[in-house]
């Protein structure tokens, strides 16, 4: 059965080539090192999305949605338009579209968007979905206030320097008429999470603690990321001109249960630690729900 007409708009034509490249070509490109770090990163994601249906688990997506959905309903209102930056395979985008929001999903990986498209058709929300293949720098092509809300989940952390972070924030604020939902890796959470990205050696832990950055690329997906303490994150949002309504810890599970066998609900952990400022620094992500002024 063929897919109904639902096109992916390539804002960045060069990404079309990325989608057409063979897996082997991409692997070679990443290994050789003559591509820029940004391209290698995008290629890593493309490969990751060719391998797995989604990089965000259902449980993790639910944790975000639990916070984001009620907030969007109250600030943006049902039927509002949402730009999901770095939508991936649409773990959040599909759920939001199902709730009646008009979803604009942008991601640099063509494979991720193909998966998103299939999912949208399966869920019957293709009418609510617009897909763009582009990088962060392509966001400048959208006009001011083009969307009611900018949703940037697990994307900002991959801006590797202060300039990139600042310009990403400015773009989000420019594009969103009403609200911005954005998250960052928690510095203490990342230190304590026993991330596989961090080798068990003192220097990596210290560099994360001192500079809030892991600079070493490798493996599947991106391994270069920055992280912040809650205060630093709060400060960054205020500096971008956003009014912070709520700051929420997301994902204790990865930190608390890293070496433990046996399952337990993610949400229960959020309930246990609810309102404890010391624990809130220890979730893996910090989510900020903000209004534009």
């Amino acid at each position: 059965m063929g897919l109904p007409h639902l096109t992916i708009r390539f804002i960045d034509e060069s990404l079309r080539g990325l989608g057409k490249a063979s897996t082997r070509q991409l692997q070679r490109g990443i290994a050789r090192g003559n591509w820029s770090e940004e391209w290698r990163e995008i290629a890593r994601y493309e490969l990751a999305y060719r391998r797995c249906a989604t990089l965000m688990s259902e449980a993790e997506g639910d944790l975000y949605l639990r916070r984001i959905l009620p907030y969007l309903k109250s600030t943006v209102g049902a039927g509002g338009s949402v730009l999901d930056i770095g939508a991936g395979a649409g773990r959040l985008a599909i759920a939001l579209a199902r709730c009646g929001f008009e979803l604009h999903a942008i991601d640099p990986s063509p494979s991720a968007l193909c998966r998103l498209r299939k999912r949208a058709v399966r869920e019957g929300v293709e009418g609510k979905l617009h897909m763009y293949c582009g990088r962060a720098c392509d966001l400048r092509r959208f006009p001011d206030g083009a969307f009611d809300c900018c949703l940037s989940i697990q994307t900002l952390m991959y801006c590797m320097d202060a300039g990139a972070t600042r310009s990403f924030m400015t773009t989000c604020v420019r594009l969103a008429r009403k609200a911005v939902c954005i998250d960052m890796v928690s510095k203490y959470g990342a230190l304590m999470a026993g991330l596989e990205e961090i080798r068990p050696c003192a220097s990596d832990h210290l560099s994360l603690w001192r500079c809030g950055r892991i600079l070493r690329p490798g493996g599947g997906g991106s391994e270069r990321f920055q992280c912040m303490t809650t205060d630093e994150f709060r400060h960054m949002l205020a500096k971008a001109g956003l009014v912070l309504d709520c700051i929420a810890p997301v994902g204790y599970r990865q930190v608390v249960l890293k070496n433990r066998k046996g399952g337990c609900g993610c949400e229960e952990l959020e309930h246990i630690f609810e309102g404890d400022p010391r624990a809130s620094e220890l979730s893996l992500f910090i989510l900020g729900l903000c209004r534009t002024t």
């Binding site: 230190l191 304590m192 026993g194 050696c201 003192a202 832990h205 046996g262 399952g263 952990l269 220890l282």
Partner: protein, 299 residues
Amino acid sequence: MSIQFMSERLKQLHCRVVELLGWSEQAGIKQALGYSLAYLEGRDPFQARAPDTYLSPLLAFLTDHLDEEARLLEVGAGTGRFTIPLAKAGFHVDAVEPAATGLETIAEKARQLGLEDRIQCLCGSYDCLGDLDSGAYDGCLALQSIMYCDDLDTVRTRVAELSRLARSVIAFDLVSKYGYIFAGVPDVPATMETIRTIYEQGTMPGKDTHRKERLCFATYDQVAELVAQSPLSSPRMLPVGYDMVMGCRLPAAEATIVDEFFRTDPNMRDLSMFFLVLANSQSHPEGGTKRSGQVPQNS
């Protein structure tokens, strides 16, 4: 339905085990029984739990404040993880341990290293310390032992008791509540019940039928409060064992670097695995062997 024993020896064994377990339950020494068996099998559960980074600040503290020949009391000596290095450093150590099989290991190690005259093995527990004379020792140590109880009140009583016995210094440690919850300790079942109990009540219910250990947890602030209420002066609290919480055991040298670094960040202090408390005992104003060196205040 009754069990039919096909061998008289197995029947005798069963009767003895039942008797032993029942007796140890009544006497409240199930823990000692569990450790006796573990040490007998050549296992030391504490070996994996205690970070190597204890020893350097501890030895530096003791040599700063005590003469080389000073007498130390170490409660919960296990198989001599700290006893042997302390004796090697020249101290005379009375090692108190409820599991005699642990003491046998210490005695054996002492014999091999020629430290027999510096170590005395005493089979006992915290309940037995009342018989010892006040100020009988220059320093009292309770490492990886004081926290095996039901609550912080018991810890407070134990600290007071150690302080009574020590003329000069005491050292003990407690498990960090947040550290333990976030450590991903492999032997803690990941049930919400365990995590909730540790978080809300600060204790862990007995998990092992043999050892039946109960563990008491504390936040940094709770330890600071406990120390302030105890007869101790110039206390210094060192968070130790960050690498255990981070889920990677670093080599001792690297772990020391990480410990020293993170110690400077107040947000990190609840995230070590243990809090090591080094303090002067106030109970004996005449003091110990080296009164000149006061413990530097924790900055």
